[in-house]
Amino acid sequence: MKILVCISKTPDTTAKIAFTDNNRKFAADGVQWIINPYDEWYALVRAIEFKEKDPATVLHLVTVGAADAEPIIRKALALGGDEAIRINTDSHDAYTIASQIAAVAKEGGYDLVLTGKETIDFNGASIGGMVAELLELPYLSLATKVDIEGGAVRVIREIEGGEETDSTSLPVVISCQKGVAEQRIPNMKGIMGARSKPLKVVEPVAVDSLTSIEKFELPPAKAGVKLVPADQPEELVRLLHEEAKVF
Protein backbone atom coordinates (compact mmCIF):
# COMPACT_ATOMS: atom_id res chain seq x y z
CA MET A 1 0.00 0.00 0.00
CA LYS A 2 1.20 3.51 -0.83
CA ILE A 3 0.08 6.16 1.66
CA LEU A 4 0.26 9.94 1.44
CA VAL A 5 -0.31 11.91 4.66
CA CYS A 6 -1.06 15.63 4.40
CA ILE A 7 0.81 17.64 7.01
CA SER A 8 0.25 21.32 7.72
CA LYS A 9 1.93 23.68 10.13
CA THR A 10 -0.06 25.75 12.61
CA PRO A 11 0.77 28.12 15.46
CA ASP A 12 1.12 26.41 18.82
CA THR A 13 -2.24 26.12 20.58
CA THR A 14 -1.17 28.67 23.20
CA ALA A 15 0.20 31.20 20.67
CA LYS A 16 -1.03 34.76 20.97
CA ILE A 17 -3.18 35.58 17.99
CA ALA A 18 -2.45 39.04 16.60
CA PHE A 19 -2.19 40.64 13.18
CA THR A 20 0.05 43.12 11.39
CA ASP A 21 0.05 44.99 8.10
CA ASN A 22 -3.35 46.60 8.69
CA ASN A 23 -4.81 43.32 9.93
CA ARG A 24 -3.93 41.62 6.69
CA LYS A 25 -1.23 39.31 8.04
CA PHE A 26 -0.88 36.97 10.99
CA ALA A 27 1.80 38.32 13.36
CA ALA A 28 4.15 35.34 13.20
CA ASP A 29 7.01 36.94 15.17
CA GLY A 30 8.00 34.78 18.11
CA VAL A 31 5.27 32.26 17.39
CA GLN A 32 6.06 28.58 17.96
CA TRP A 33 4.90 26.36 15.12
CA ILE A 34 3.64 22.84 15.51
CA ILE A 35 2.31 20.08 13.29
CA ASN A 36 -1.45 20.54 13.04
CA PRO A 37 -2.63 18.22 15.87
CA TYR A 38 -5.15 16.26 13.76
CA ASP A 39 -2.49 15.56 11.14
CA GLU A 40 0.09 14.49 13.70
CA TRP A 41 -1.89 12.59 16.32
CA TYR A 42 -4.35 10.80 14.08
CA ALA A 43 -3.57 10.76 10.33
CA LEU A 44 0.18 10.28 10.67
CA VAL A 45 0.14 7.85 13.58
CA ARG A 46 -2.48 5.65 11.90
CA ALA A 47 -0.36 5.59 8.72
CA ILE A 48 2.68 4.62 10.79
CA GLU A 49 0.66 1.80 12.34
CA PHE A 50 -0.17 0.49 8.85
CA LYS A 51 3.52 0.53 7.99
CA GLU A 52 4.46 -1.22 11.21
CA LYS A 53 2.00 -3.97 10.41
CA ASP A 54 3.16 -4.31 6.81
CA PRO A 55 6.72 -3.03 6.29
CA ALA A 56 6.22 -3.09 2.51
CA THR A 57 3.96 -0.05 2.97
CA VAL A 58 5.32 3.13 1.38
CA LEU A 59 4.59 6.17 3.52
CA HIS A 60 5.12 9.68 2.16
CA LEU A 61 4.28 12.99 3.81
CA VAL A 62 3.31 16.09 1.89
CA THR A 63 3.11 19.70 2.94
CA VAL A 64 2.17 22.73 0.89
CA GLY A 65 4.22 25.60 2.21
CA ALA A 66 7.27 27.81 1.96
CA ALA A 67 10.72 26.82 3.24
CA ASP A 68 9.66 27.70 6.80
CA ALA A 69 7.47 24.57 6.77
CA GLU A 70 10.54 22.33 6.66
CA PRO A 71 11.19 22.07 10.42
CA ILE A 72 7.59 20.91 10.79
CA ILE A 73 7.78 18.25 8.10
CA ARG A 74 11.09 17.04 9.62
CA LYS A 75 9.33 16.78 12.97
CA ALA A 76 6.67 14.68 11.30
CA LEU A 77 9.35 12.47 9.72
CA ALA A 78 10.78 11.94 13.20
CA LEU A 79 7.56 10.14 14.08
CA GLY A 80 7.70 7.99 10.96
CA GLY A 81 7.44 7.92 7.18
CA ASP A 82 9.91 7.24 4.38
CA GLU A 83 10.16 10.62 2.72
CA ALA A 84 8.57 14.02 2.58
CA ILE A 85 7.51 16.27 -0.23
CA ARG A 86 7.19 20.01 0.15
CA ILE A 87 5.28 21.89 -2.49
CA ASN A 88 6.75 25.30 -2.60
CA THR A 89 3.91 27.80 -2.25
CA ASP A 90 2.35 29.40 0.79
CA SER A 91 -1.12 30.04 -0.50
CA HIS A 92 -4.03 30.05 1.95
CA ASP A 93 -6.63 29.31 -0.70
CA ALA A 94 -7.99 25.81 -0.04
CA TYR A 95 -8.50 25.07 -3.73
CA THR A 96 -4.90 26.00 -4.53
CA ILE A 97 -3.54 23.84 -1.70
CA ALA A 98 -5.80 20.91 -2.63
CA SER A 99 -4.78 21.16 -6.30
CA GLN A 100 -1.11 20.88 -5.31
CA ILE A 101 -1.73 17.84 -3.13
CA ALA A 102 -3.89 16.23 -5.81
CA ALA A 103 -1.15 16.72 -8.43
CA VAL A 104 1.41 15.00 -6.21
CA ALA A 105 -1.07 12.27 -5.29
CA LYS A 106 -1.88 11.56 -8.91
CA GLU A 107 1.72 11.38 -9.94
CA GLY A 108 2.67 9.15 -7.00
CA GLY A 109 -0.24 6.76 -7.49
CA TYR A 110 -1.12 6.57 -3.80
CA ASP A 111 -3.79 4.15 -2.60
CA LEU A 112 -4.61 6.09 0.52
CA VAL A 113 -4.53 9.84 1.19
CA LEU A 114 -4.99 10.84 4.83
CA THR A 115 -5.68 14.36 6.10
CA GLY A 116 -6.53 15.79 9.48
CA LYS A 117 -10.07 16.86 10.34
CA GLU A 118 -9.16 20.51 9.91
CA THR A 119 -6.34 22.97 10.39
CA ILE A 120 -6.61 24.70 13.75
CA ASP A 121 -5.61 28.06 12.24
CA PHE A 122 -7.75 28.35 9.11
CA ASN A 123 -10.42 25.85 10.13
CA GLY A 124 -11.54 25.18 6.59
CA ALA A 125 -12.17 21.44 6.91
CA SER A 126 -12.02 21.57 3.13
CA ILE A 127 -8.75 20.18 1.79
CA GLY A 128 -9.60 16.47 2.09
CA GLY A 129 -12.89 16.74 0.25
CA MET A 130 -11.35 18.89 -2.45
CA VAL A 131 -8.47 16.47 -2.99
CA ALA A 132 -10.94 13.59 -3.24
CA GLU A 133 -13.02 15.43 -5.82
CA LEU A 134 -9.92 16.36 -7.85
CA LEU A 135 -8.88 12.69 -7.82
CA GLU A 136 -12.47 11.50 -8.34
CA LEU A 137 -12.20 9.27 -5.26
CA PRO A 138 -14.54 8.64 -2.33
CA TYR A 139 -13.97 10.90 0.66
CA LEU A 140 -14.67 9.52 4.09
CA SER A 141 -14.85 12.62 6.26
CA LEU A 142 -14.27 12.82 10.01
CA ALA A 143 -13.22 9.24 10.61
CA THR A 144 -12.91 8.04 14.21
CA LYS A 145 -11.68 4.55 13.21
CA VAL A 146 -9.89 3.40 10.06
CA ASP A 147 -9.25 -0.24 9.15
CA ILE A 148 -7.75 -1.46 5.90
CA GLU A 149 -7.36 -5.15 5.06
CA GLY A 150 -6.27 -6.32 1.63
CA GLY A 151 -7.57 -3.21 -0.12
CA ALA A 152 -10.91 -3.26 1.71
CA VAL A 153 -11.57 -0.10 3.71
CA ARG A 154 -13.80 0.08 6.75
CA VAL A 155 -14.30 3.38 8.51
CA ILE A 156 -16.39 4.63 11.38
CA ARG A 157 -17.10 8.30 10.84
CA GLU A 158 -19.01 11.09 12.47
CA ILE A 159 -22.16 12.08 10.62
CA GLU A 160 -24.89 14.58 11.39
CA GLY A 161 -26.37 13.47 14.72
CA GLY A 162 -24.30 10.33 15.23
CA GLU A 163 -21.95 7.93 13.50
CA GLU A 164 -21.87 5.58 10.58
CA THR A 165 -19.82 2.53 9.57
CA ASP A 166 -18.86 2.64 5.90
CA SER A 167 -17.04 0.23 3.66
CA THR A 168 -15.37 0.82 0.33
CA SER A 169 -12.16 -0.13 -1.41
CA LEU A 170 -8.87 1.62 -2.07
CA PRO A 171 -8.02 4.16 -3.38
CA VAL A 172 -9.71 6.59 -1.04
CA VAL A 173 -9.24 9.90 0.82
CA ILE A 174 -9.97 9.94 4.56
CA SER A 175 -9.94 12.81 7.07
CA CYS A 176 -8.98 11.76 10.58
CA GLN A 177 -9.96 12.89 14.05
CA LYS A 178 -9.84 11.65 17.61
CA GLY A 179 -10.24 7.88 17.92
CA VAL A 180 -8.28 6.97 14.79
CA ALA A 181 -5.00 6.62 16.72
CA GLU A 182 -3.23 7.67 19.91
CA GLN A 183 -0.75 10.53 20.00
CA ARG A 184 2.93 9.44 20.01
CA ILE A 185 6.04 11.20 21.24
CA PRO A 186 9.01 11.04 18.82
CA ASN A 187 12.05 9.23 20.23
CA MET A 188 15.74 10.07 19.80
CA LYS A 189 16.24 7.43 17.14
CA GLY A 190 13.37 8.86 15.12
CA ILE A 191 14.65 12.40 15.46
CA MET A 192 18.16 11.43 14.35
CA GLY A 193 16.81 9.25 11.52
CA ALA A 194 14.58 12.03 10.22
CA ARG A 195 17.63 14.14 9.34
CA SER A 196 18.73 11.74 6.65
CA LYS A 197 15.30 11.02 5.18
CA PRO A 198 14.73 12.57 1.76
CA LEU A 199 12.79 15.84 1.61
CA LYS A 200 11.86 16.64 -1.96
CA VAL A 201 10.88 20.15 -2.91
CA VAL A 202 8.59 20.46 -5.91
CA GLU A 203 7.31 23.61 -7.57
CA PRO A 204 3.55 24.20 -7.55
CA VAL A 205 1.30 23.55 -10.52
CA ALA A 206 -0.41 26.67 -11.85
CA VAL A 207 -3.97 27.17 -10.58
CA ASP A 208 -6.24 30.15 -10.14
CA SER A 209 -7.21 30.66 -6.52
CA LEU A 210 -10.92 30.87 -5.80
CA THR A 211 -10.75 32.88 -2.57
CA SER A 212 -8.47 35.28 -0.73
CA ILE A 213 -8.36 36.63 2.80
CA GLU A 214 -9.01 40.37 2.80
CA LYS A 215 -8.41 41.01 6.46
CA PHE A 216 -8.52 39.58 9.93
CA GLU A 217 -10.36 40.82 12.98
CA LEU A 218 -10.10 40.07 16.68
CA PRO A 219 -13.30 39.48 18.66
CA PRO A 220 -14.36 42.34 20.94
CA ALA A 221 -13.02 42.08 24.48
CA LYS A 222 -15.38 40.70 27.11
CA ALA A 223 -16.89 43.26 29.49
CA GLY A 224 -15.72 41.29 32.51
CA VAL A 225 -17.31 38.65 34.65
CA LYS A 226 -20.22 39.38 36.96
CA LEU A 227 -19.67 37.28 40.07
CA VAL A 228 -22.56 35.99 42.15
CA PRO A 229 -21.94 34.90 45.76
CA ALA A 230 -21.73 31.11 46.19
CA ASP A 231 -24.58 31.05 48.67
CA GLN A 232 -26.98 32.77 46.25
CA PRO A 233 -27.07 30.58 43.12
CA GLU A 234 -30.73 31.53 42.60
CA GLU A 235 -29.48 35.06 41.88
CA LEU A 236 -27.44 33.63 38.98
CA VAL A 237 -30.54 31.94 37.62
CA ARG A 238 -32.45 35.21 37.91
CA LEU A 239 -29.72 37.13 36.02
CA LEU A 240 -29.59 34.54 33.27
CA HIS A 241 -33.35 34.69 32.92
CA GLU A 242 -33.96 38.42 33.25
CA GLU A 243 -30.72 40.08 32.17
CA ALA A 244 -29.01 37.74 29.73
CA LYS A 245 -32.42 36.34 28.68
CA VAL A 246 -30.91 33.00 27.70
CA PHE A 247 -33.83 30.96 29.08
Binding site: T13, T14, P37, Y38, A94, A98, I120, D121, F122, N123, G124, A125, S126, I127, G128, G129, M130, A132, E133, P138, Y139, L140, S141, L142, T144, I159, E160, G161, G162, E163, E164, T165, D166, S167, T168, K178, L210, T211, S212, I213, E214, K215, F216, E217, L218, P219, K222, A223, V225, L227, V228, A230, P233, E234, L236, V237, R238, A244, V246, F247
Partner: protein, 318 residues
Protein backbone atom coordinates in the same frame (compact mmCIF):
# COMPACT_ATOMS: atom_id res chain seq x y z
CA UNK B 1 -30.21 32.88 -7.85
CA UNK B 2 -29.43 31.48 -4.42
CA UNK B 3 -29.90 27.73 -4.05
CA UNK B 4 -30.21 26.53 -0.46
CA UNK B 5 -29.37 22.91 0.19
CA UNK B 6 -31.75 21.68 2.90
CA UNK B 7 -30.15 18.80 4.74
CA UNK B 8 -32.09 16.15 6.58
CA UNK B 9 -31.12 13.54 9.08
CA UNK B 10 -33.27 10.39 9.34
CA UNK B 11 -35.90 11.95 7.06
CA UNK B 12 -36.27 15.00 9.31
CA UNK B 13 -35.18 18.54 8.59
CA UNK B 14 -33.17 19.95 11.42
CA UNK B 15 -32.53 23.33 12.98
CA UNK B 16 -29.26 23.93 11.15
CA UNK B 17 -31.13 23.76 7.86
CA UNK B 18 -33.71 26.30 9.06
CA UNK B 19 -30.77 28.58 9.82
CA UNK B 20 -29.32 27.97 6.35
CA UNK B 21 -32.71 28.82 4.81
CA UNK B 22 -32.94 32.10 6.73
CA UNK B 23 -29.38 32.91 5.68
CA UNK B 24 -30.03 32.07 2.02
CA UNK B 25 -33.33 33.99 1.87
CA UNK B 26 -31.72 37.09 3.39
CA UNK B 27 -28.75 36.80 1.07
CA UNK B 28 -31.04 36.56 -1.96
CA UNK B 29 -32.86 39.72 -0.83
CA UNK B 30 -29.53 41.47 -0.37
CA UNK B 31 -28.46 40.44 -3.89
CA UNK B 32 -31.83 41.36 -5.37
CA UNK B 33 -32.41 37.86 -6.60
CA UNK B 34 -34.55 34.83 -5.81
CA UNK B 35 -33.93 31.88 -3.51
CA UNK B 36 -34.98 28.25 -3.83
CA UNK B 37 -34.51 25.24 -1.59
CA UNK B 38 -33.22 21.83 -2.60
CA UNK B 39 -34.05 18.61 -0.76
CA UNK B 40 -32.49 15.26 -1.64
CA UNK B 41 -34.20 12.00 -0.79
CA UNK B 42 -37.51 11.20 0.82
CA UNK B 43 -38.66 13.05 3.88
CA UNK B 44 -41.28 12.70 6.60
CA UNK B 45 -41.62 16.46 6.88
CA UNK B 46 -44.08 18.67 5.04
CA UNK B 47 -41.77 20.63 2.76
CA UNK B 48 -44.34 23.27 1.83
CA UNK B 49 -44.33 24.38 5.48
CA UNK B 50 -40.75 25.55 5.02
CA UNK B 51 -42.37 28.53 3.34
CA UNK B 52 -42.65 30.04 6.79
CA UNK B 53 -38.91 30.72 6.62
CA UNK B 54 -39.47 32.87 3.56
CA UNK B 55 -38.88 30.28 0.86
CA UNK B 56 -41.36 30.28 -1.99
CA UNK B 57 -39.92 27.43 -4.00
CA UNK B 58 -38.43 24.07 -3.09
CA UNK B 59 -37.12 21.42 -5.42
CA UNK B 60 -37.03 17.85 -4.25
CA UNK B 61 -35.26 14.90 -5.82
CA UNK B 62 -37.62 12.35 -4.34
CA UNK B 63 -35.42 9.29 -4.90
CA UNK B 64 -34.93 6.58 -2.26
CA UNK B 65 -31.36 6.14 -3.51
CA UNK B 66 -30.64 9.52 -1.89
CA UNK B 67 -31.81 8.52 1.57
CA UNK B 68 -28.19 7.67 2.41
CA UNK B 69 -25.93 10.70 2.24
CA UNK B 70 -23.06 9.70 -0.04
CA UNK B 71 -20.76 12.66 -0.63
CA UNK B 72 -19.92 11.78 -4.22
CA UNK B 73 -23.50 11.04 -5.20
CA UNK B 74 -24.80 14.17 -3.48
CA UNK B 75 -22.16 16.26 -5.22
CA UNK B 76 -23.28 15.06 -8.62
CA UNK B 77 -26.96 15.61 -7.90
CA UNK B 78 -26.57 19.02 -6.24
CA UNK B 79 -24.20 20.26 -8.97
CA UNK B 80 -26.70 19.22 -11.61
CA UNK B 81 -29.61 20.92 -9.82
CA UNK B 82 -27.48 24.03 -9.30
CA UNK B 83 -26.64 24.27 -12.99
CA UNK B 84 -30.19 23.52 -14.11
CA UNK B 85 -31.56 26.21 -11.82
CA UNK B 86 -29.07 28.73 -13.20
CA UNK B 87 -27.99 29.48 -9.64
CA UNK B 88 -24.82 31.36 -8.78
CA UNK B 89 -24.74 30.94 -5.01
CA UNK B 90 -25.12 27.77 -2.98
CA UNK B 91 -25.88 27.99 0.74
CA UNK B 92 -25.89 25.10 3.21
CA UNK B 93 -25.23 24.49 6.86
CA UNK B 94 -21.66 23.94 8.00
CA UNK B 95 -22.92 20.82 9.78
CA UNK B 96 -21.31 17.42 9.25
CA UNK B 97 -23.10 16.89 5.95
CA UNK B 98 -21.95 20.30 4.75
CA UNK B 99 -18.38 19.46 5.71
CA UNK B 100 -18.53 16.27 3.65
CA UNK B 101 -19.99 17.75 0.47
CA UNK B 102 -19.23 21.48 0.22
CA UNK B 103 -15.49 21.03 -0.61
CA UNK B 104 -16.34 18.54 -3.35
CA UNK B 105 -18.95 20.89 -4.79
CA UNK B 106 -16.47 23.75 -4.73
CA UNK B 107 -14.18 21.77 -7.03
CA UNK B 108 -16.99 20.41 -9.19
CA UNK B 109 -18.56 23.83 -9.76
CA UNK B 110 -15.30 25.79 -9.67
CA UNK B 111 -17.06 27.89 -7.06
CA UNK B 112 -15.11 29.62 -4.31
CA UNK B 113 -16.00 28.15 -0.92
CA UNK B 114 -16.19 29.78 2.49
CA UNK B 115 -16.93 27.32 5.29
CA UNK B 116 -18.49 28.30 8.59
CA UNK B 117 -19.80 31.79 7.83
CA UNK B 118 -20.79 33.68 10.98
CA UNK B 119 -22.71 36.51 9.30
CA UNK B 120 -24.21 37.51 5.97
CA UNK B 121 -21.67 38.33 3.24
CA UNK B 122 -20.66 41.87 2.51
CA UNK B 123 -21.81 42.27 -1.08
CA UNK B 124 -21.18 46.01 -1.40
CA UNK B 125 -18.01 45.46 -3.38
CA UNK B 126 -17.51 41.84 -4.33
CA UNK B 127 -18.54 38.98 -2.07
CA UNK B 128 -16.78 38.88 1.28
CA UNK B 129 -17.71 36.41 4.00
CA UNK B 130 -16.74 36.58 7.66
CA UNK B 131 -15.75 33.32 9.32
CA UNK B 132 -14.07 32.24 12.55
CA UNK B 133 -10.39 31.29 12.28
CA UNK B 134 -7.63 30.38 14.75
CA UNK B 135 -10.18 28.21 16.55
CA UNK B 136 -12.50 31.08 17.34
CA UNK B 137 -9.73 33.39 18.51
CA UNK B 138 -10.15 35.61 15.45
CA UNK B 139 -12.24 36.17 12.34
CA UNK B 140 -11.21 36.35 8.70
CA UNK B 141 -13.01 38.22 5.95
CA UNK B 142 -12.71 35.98 2.93
CA UNK B 143 -13.32 37.32 -0.56
CA UNK B 144 -14.76 34.89 -3.09
CA UNK B 145 -13.29 35.64 -6.50
CA UNK B 146 -15.39 33.37 -8.68
CA UNK B 147 -18.79 34.15 -10.24
CA UNK B 148 -20.15 31.02 -8.55
CA UNK B 149 -19.78 30.66 -4.81
CA UNK B 150 -20.60 28.36 -1.93
CA UNK B 151 -21.17 29.46 1.66
CA UNK B 152 -21.65 27.07 4.56
CA UNK B 153 -23.28 28.63 7.61
CA UNK B 154 -21.88 28.02 11.08
CA UNK B 155 -24.51 26.44 13.37
CA UNK B 156 -26.11 28.98 15.76
CA UNK B 157 -24.52 31.92 13.92
CA UNK B 158 -27.84 33.14 12.61
CA UNK B 159 -31.25 32.63 14.15
CA UNK B 160 -33.84 30.90 11.98
CA UNK B 161 -36.63 33.44 11.42
CA UNK B 162 -40.09 32.14 10.76
CA UNK B 163 -43.33 33.85 9.90
CA UNK B 164 -46.09 32.54 7.71
CA UNK B 165 -46.12 31.31 4.15
CA UNK B 166 -46.13 28.20 2.10
CA UNK B 167 -43.55 27.01 -0.38
CA UNK B 168 -44.33 25.45 -3.70
CA UNK B 169 -42.72 22.02 -3.88
CA UNK B 170 -41.55 20.84 -7.26
CA UNK B 171 -40.29 17.29 -7.75
CA UNK B 172 -37.36 17.21 -10.10
CA UNK B 173 -35.55 14.27 -11.63
CA UNK B 174 -31.81 14.10 -11.73
CA UNK B 175 -29.79 11.05 -12.71
CA UNK B 176 -28.44 9.49 -9.50
CA UNK B 177 -25.10 7.70 -9.94
CA UNK B 178 -24.24 4.53 -8.00
CA UNK B 179 -22.43 5.02 -4.70
CA UNK B 180 -18.89 3.70 -4.28
CA UNK B 181 -19.25 3.66 -0.51
CA UNK B 182 -21.53 1.22 1.26
CA UNK B 183 -23.18 2.23 4.52
CA UNK B 184 -22.91 -0.81 6.80
CA UNK B 185 -24.69 0.65 9.80
CA UNK B 186 -25.74 3.96 11.24
CA UNK B 187 -26.15 5.02 14.80
CA UNK B 188 -27.99 8.30 15.22
CA UNK B 189 -28.94 9.78 18.57
CA UNK B 190 -32.69 10.06 18.59
CA UNK B 191 -34.65 12.60 20.56
CA UNK B 192 -31.58 14.13 22.17
CA UNK B 193 -30.46 17.65 21.34
CA UNK B 194 -27.18 17.33 19.45
CA UNK B 195 -24.30 19.33 20.83
CA UNK B 196 -23.76 21.39 17.67
CA UNK B 197 -27.44 22.35 17.48
CA UNK B 198 -27.97 23.03 21.16
CA UNK B 199 -28.75 26.58 22.26
CA UNK B 200 -27.75 25.76 25.82
CA UNK B 201 -24.81 23.55 26.76
CA UNK B 202 -23.87 22.40 30.25
CA UNK B 203 -20.31 21.17 30.41
CA UNK B 204 -18.19 19.45 33.05
CA UNK B 205 -14.46 19.17 33.65
CA UNK B 206 -12.03 17.29 35.81
CA UNK B 207 -13.30 19.26 38.82
CA UNK B 208 -16.28 16.91 38.91
CA UNK B 209 -13.97 14.12 40.10
CA UNK B 210 -15.58 11.19 38.29
CA UNK B 211 -18.27 10.03 35.85
CA UNK B 212 -20.61 9.14 38.72
CA UNK B 213 -21.04 12.87 39.41
CA UNK B 214 -22.45 13.77 35.98
CA UNK B 215 -26.06 13.42 37.15
CA UNK B 216 -26.29 17.10 38.01
CA UNK B 217 -24.79 18.14 34.66
CA UNK B 218 -27.30 15.98 32.82
CA UNK B 219 -30.20 17.14 34.95
CA UNK B 220 -29.52 20.83 34.39
CA UNK B 221 -29.03 20.28 30.66
CA UNK B 222 -32.32 18.42 30.46
CA UNK B 223 -34.20 21.08 32.41
CA UNK B 224 -32.89 23.72 30.00
CA UNK B 225 -33.48 21.57 26.88
CA UNK B 226 -29.76 21.71 26.29
CA UNK B 227 -26.94 19.31 25.58
CA UNK B 228 -23.98 18.16 27.66
CA UNK B 229 -20.30 18.61 26.88
CA UNK B 230 -16.96 18.08 28.59
CA UNK B 231 -13.29 19.01 28.61
CA UNK B 232 -10.68 16.87 26.91
CA UNK B 233 -9.21 15.06 29.93
CA UNK B 234 -12.75 14.00 30.86
CA UNK B 235 -13.26 12.38 27.44
CA UNK B 236 -9.72 10.95 27.47
CA UNK B 237 -10.47 9.27 30.80
CA UNK B 238 -13.67 7.86 29.26
CA UNK B 239 -15.83 9.55 31.85
CA UNK B 240 -17.84 10.90 28.96
CA UNK B 241 -18.18 9.92 25.27
CA UNK B 242 -15.70 11.36 22.81
CA UNK B 243 -18.28 13.37 20.85
CA UNK B 244 -18.90 15.54 23.95
CA UNK B 245 -15.31 16.80 24.00
CA UNK B 246 -15.14 20.47 23.04
CA UNK B 247 -12.12 22.65 22.43
CA UNK B 248 -9.31 23.14 20.00
CA UNK B 249 -9.04 19.42 19.29
CA UNK B 250 -12.70 18.59 19.88
CA UNK B 251 -15.94 20.11 18.70
CA UNK B 252 -16.33 23.87 18.29
CA UNK B 253 -19.69 25.14 19.46
CA UNK B 254 -21.42 28.51 19.67
CA UNK B 255 -24.50 28.13 21.86
CA UNK B 256 -26.43 31.03 23.41
CA UNK B 257 -25.43 29.81 26.85
CA UNK B 258 -22.43 27.74 27.89
CA UNK B 259 -22.24 26.68 31.54
CA UNK B 260 -18.79 25.39 32.51
CA UNK B 261 -18.62 23.44 35.76
CA UNK B 262 -15.26 22.43 37.23
CA UNK B 263 -13.36 23.37 34.08
CA UNK B 264 -10.20 25.47 34.45
CA UNK B 265 -10.58 27.26 31.10
CA UNK B 266 -7.30 26.35 29.42
CA UNK B 267 -6.75 28.22 26.18
CA UNK B 268 -7.32 25.01 24.20
CA UNK B 269 -10.68 24.51 25.86
CA UNK B 270 -11.72 28.13 25.27
CA UNK B 271 -10.91 27.71 21.58
CA UNK B 272 -13.96 25.48 21.19
CA UNK B 273 -16.44 27.55 23.18
CA UNK B 274 -15.36 31.18 22.94
CA UNK B 275 -18.04 32.03 20.38
CA UNK B 276 -20.78 31.19 22.91
CA UNK B 277 -22.96 34.25 23.47
CA UNK B 278 -23.12 33.98 27.25
CA UNK B 279 -20.60 32.03 29.33
CA UNK B 280 -21.19 31.00 32.96
CA UNK B 281 -18.35 29.56 35.01
CA UNK B 282 -18.66 27.62 38.25
CA UNK B 283 -15.27 26.90 39.76
CA UNK B 284 -13.96 26.77 43.31
CA UNK B 285 -10.70 28.48 42.33
CA UNK B 286 -11.10 32.28 41.95
CA UNK B 287 -7.89 32.27 39.87
CA UNK B 288 -9.24 29.82 37.28
CA UNK B 289 -8.51 31.38 33.87
CA UNK B 290 -12.07 30.65 32.72
CA UNK B 291 -13.38 33.60 34.77
CA UNK B 292 -11.56 35.96 32.39
CA UNK B 293 -13.65 34.67 29.50
CA UNK B 294 -16.92 34.47 31.45
CA UNK B 295 -19.95 36.75 31.59
CA UNK B 296 -21.26 35.37 34.88
CA UNK B 297 -19.56 33.27 37.50
CA UNK B 298 -19.74 31.69 40.90
CA UNK B 299 -16.62 31.00 42.90
CA UNK B 300 -17.68 27.92 44.80
CA UNK B 301 -17.87 24.18 45.12
CA UNK B 302 -19.84 22.67 42.25
CA UNK B 303 -21.24 19.98 44.52
CA UNK B 304 -22.89 22.62 46.69
CA UNK B 305 -23.78 25.16 44.00
CA UNK B 306 -25.22 22.92 41.26
CA UNK B 307 -28.08 21.38 43.27
CA UNK B 308 -29.21 24.88 44.25
CA UNK B 309 -29.07 26.09 40.65
CA UNK B 310 -31.13 23.09 39.59
CA UNK B 311 -33.70 23.90 42.29
CA UNK B 312 -33.89 27.53 41.20
CA UNK B 313 -34.37 26.59 37.55
CA UNK B 314 -37.09 24.12 38.50
CA UNK B 315 -38.86 26.83 40.45
CA UNK B 316 -38.58 29.22 37.52
CA UNK B 317 -40.00 26.64 35.12
CA UNK B 318 -43.04 25.95 37.30
Amino acid sequence: MVLIFIDQSERKIKKTSFEAITYGVKLAAQLNTTAAGLVLGQTDDDLSSLGKYGLTKIQQVDDAALNDMDAQVYTTVIAEAFRNAGADTLVMSANLTGKAIAPRLSVRLKAGLVTGAVSLPDTGNGFVVKKAVFSGKAFAHVAVQTPQRIVTVSPNAIRAESGSGEAQVEKITVAVPAAKVKVESRDVLKGEVSLADAEIVVSGGRGLKGPENWGMIEELAKLLHGATACSRPVADAHWRPHHEHVGQTGGAIAPNLYIAVGISGAIQHLAGVNRSKTIVVINKDPEAPFFKAADYGIVGDAFEVMPKIIEAVKKLKQ
